[in-house]
Symmetry: C4
């Protein structure tokens, strides 16, 4: 996001910016956590409202809560716009659009009722939960995972292409084998079945009945069972690699013999015995 | 637990303590195993009693066994209270509470019948099974697993947060897409479906029927299939790391400073610079 | 494939060859991508045609598209035959046969209608998608996966033999235990159930009902749950191994014999003994 | 097995022994493969016989095949007894008992018909398939897997104890929560459900219906999804460890400086430059 702090702005804007957008001051951290709690509560309210029996009894209260949080998020959105140096850049950034979309649906229900379904967008605000990982210890750990996944992304894409091809070929095959019966009513549906099978989910809403179909399905299952090893292997190897490389040795070169890779707590060179 | 051995207590209490609470004497080990067998047998009795057909035929015998074991556990509980130096500390420790709760339900049935369901608490006593791992070889192995999981706990929490967010967003989406039909009757139920799917359990009690729903479900499945690689990778890397560390060093002790863990090809001690 | 470039052929054939069969010129890359897009579109058309409701409305259009792509693939096939030095070698290579089979089914529908099902073969052309991985970055990554799998193939075969034996033994056992009822109507069907179970797919179309059957199934599930660790471990270890091997060596080339891959702390070339 | 070769036996017995029990001569290998083929064919015959429709048409032929193979196995069993130095030791070894049990059922059908179900034991002979891994390349690979699993057996036992305890506690909990309805009719059945869930098999024959039940089930699923990382991590780490240690370096010590861990193809010592 190209939203930089307001630089030489007036004092209160700078303070407000650090409270609203940053998380390294106590006030900023408190603000972030307050927003997170508000998001979780509003999402819980939306969820409960979708439950028939709860809606019948507490519907009015839940709708009041919805309007309350919409107000809170509206204020928060305005505050963000005011405080940021380049409001447009924020407004059109991904987080900015999600923040805006979280307000619209409730307002739109005034005009037409069906728009309430758009509240689903509000759950996207949950993505802000990951901001909490900027607080303290979690940061490094989250970054570790993201780095490992990023480093593996090409391998994972190759793997996914292989899986998608496999699923298309086997799905089409099963459509032909089962002859369009037993739930395999079309090729896309058969591919859906193949995905359900190769990922070992196995709902059982569609399952082969013919002998040939069950044989092919068995092969697909064992394949799926075996190839889960591939993404796991990729990520494990990546993580093991980055883990081992970094903290294993002291980043110091002996000034006498130039030996490296000393123990992290070494006081003398392992090669020539010189004091490090 | 802050239950220390009774220090300068009288001889018999000291002996009883080591028998009941410790496992490094033959008597202590025998006591531990006897308690474990009693727990397993009483849990099996509770299980069998819940089976209608068995209850009809052997109900009286099973209830007699239940009372017998309740008596045994009561005696054991009293013995623990008598023998320990600070009975209150034990009584309010986690294991102490579980030990107490294992006795109460059977007694409570005298007053009102429904309380028999509380016998479920007795299965918690099964946790004492892990005491057996204090015996011999298992200790190190169990500790190895626990250590690896502890070291990975922040990474696993980040991972779980990501999974929970994914499940909430996709669950809500499917609720909207399937329009409240086909089992997706509320957002919490749709999230339950998303958990069932992303973990590749796939009961099939709820499964999408619309084309868009099945497409989204397929994406979720492949995601779930791929991201299982993350926790596996984390734990594998952690375990591989701690495993490798052990034999990666020279099995030699410096004769001057007693330092160990030298590089496999070290010629001088990393700690004092002495020739190895 | 034993299809070599046409060597000292006339200029246009050489150019055409590099466009059609190779991917390292801009024209060649464009041709490859165009073919891929055509394959994906034709496969999508075949898929959509299999959907009853779409077929009723857009059937004529889809059949026109099918004929159009059949024409395109026919032209492509002829071009490949003309351009290659040894047409027969190409025609009887795996890719050549698949390319040919992708054209036949549509033509065959002129003679008898049922042959449309053969269009399933066209999905096999999707395998050409992997050609895209010859472009740029992906190549190495794809090769990394293939190499790791190849190196593990014997271990994976041993593993698969063990799984197949397990599945046969447990399947037969369940057939006997369930007495041919509850879906376990024959041994092959019971083995199918065992595959569904051990791979953790779990459709639920067949599931044990007797107490002994459910107990055996539980053991099989826990076994399946535990032994997934084996292929994963094999591939992880393989990948971690080949990954580690790369940076484990000194990035220095011997100035005498050009040998690389010296130990990180080597002082002399392992190949010619020269001081590094 | 304490079956030693017949030592100073007469020549033909020695030859017969090496043919029947060993696999390092061409004749021995041929015999082994012939036995394997006979086992697979007889198991296939048993399987096909269990299929109603096939049994009706080819029942007589299949029963003839069954008798033929029973005869073959009887001859093989007698040959083994004759050839081995200590027949009783073989007869009471595991493989000997399985070999014997593979013959009995067919003979027993002469007396009472139900005993045909005992043919399930014949599938156990499939275990002999693993003998094939003694041939050539597979041996080392199979041993690699077995060694890794053996080295991890204590960790896997700790893990399995944890899973069994979890499954017992959660199963009992769900029995209480669902109140004995929705398939959770007894504690053992609920534990069966918990196993089906935690292993991510998920048949769907039993699934929670109450809100609390579905919440607990979701937690169990995510736990099951996360803890699959544990056995995988154990085996991966074990395999990665043993892989790296063994074949990475040349097993040669420099006769000048005693340096070890040379590249597998090193000709000169990396430490002192001496010819190895």
């Amino acid at each position: 996001m190209d939203i930089r702090p307001p630089g030489s702005a007036s004092g209160w804007r700078r303070t407000a910016y650090s409270v609203i957008f940053e998380a390294d001051t106590p006030a900023g951290r408190t603000f972030d956590i307050a927003v997170l709690v508000a998001i979780v509560l509003s999402v819980v309210a939306v969820m409960l409202e979708s439950v028939q029996s709860i809606n019948l009894r507490y519907g009015t209260a839940l709708r009041a809560i919805e309007w309350f949080f919409t107000g809170v998020f509206l204020l928060e959105y305005i505050a963000r716009l005011v405080v940021v140096r380049r409001p447009l850049a924020y407004a059109f950034s991904l987080l900015g659009i999600i923040d805006f979309m979280a307000i619209v649906p409730t307002l739109a229900t005034l005009i037409f009722a069906g728009s309430r379904y758009l509240l689903v967008i509000r759950t996207l605000r949950l993505l802000r939960v990951f901001r909490i990982f900027k607080l303290g210890r979690f940061m490094g750990e989250g970054e570790f995972i993201v780095t490992a996944l990023k480093a593996s992304r090409f391998k994972i894409m190759v793997f996914l292409t292989a899986v998608l091809t496999l699923v298309t070929v086997v799905g089409t095959l099963l459509y032909v084998v089962e002859g369009g019966n037993n739930g395999f009513t079309s090729i896309p549906k058969s591919i859906y079945w193949a995905v359900v099978t190769v990922t070992t989910v196995g709902y059982g809403d569609i399952s082969p009945v013919t002998v040939l179909g069950q044989t092919l399905a068995s092969i697909l299952m064992i394949l799926g069972y075996a190839i889960i090893a591939v993404p796991t292997g990729i990520v494990s190897a990546q993580m093991a690699g980055s883990r081992v490389s970094a903290p294993a040795f002291k980043q110091v070169v002996c000034h006498v013999c130039q030996a490296t890779d000393h123990r992290p707590d070494a006081e003398y060179c392992w090669h020539c015995g010189e004091k490090l």
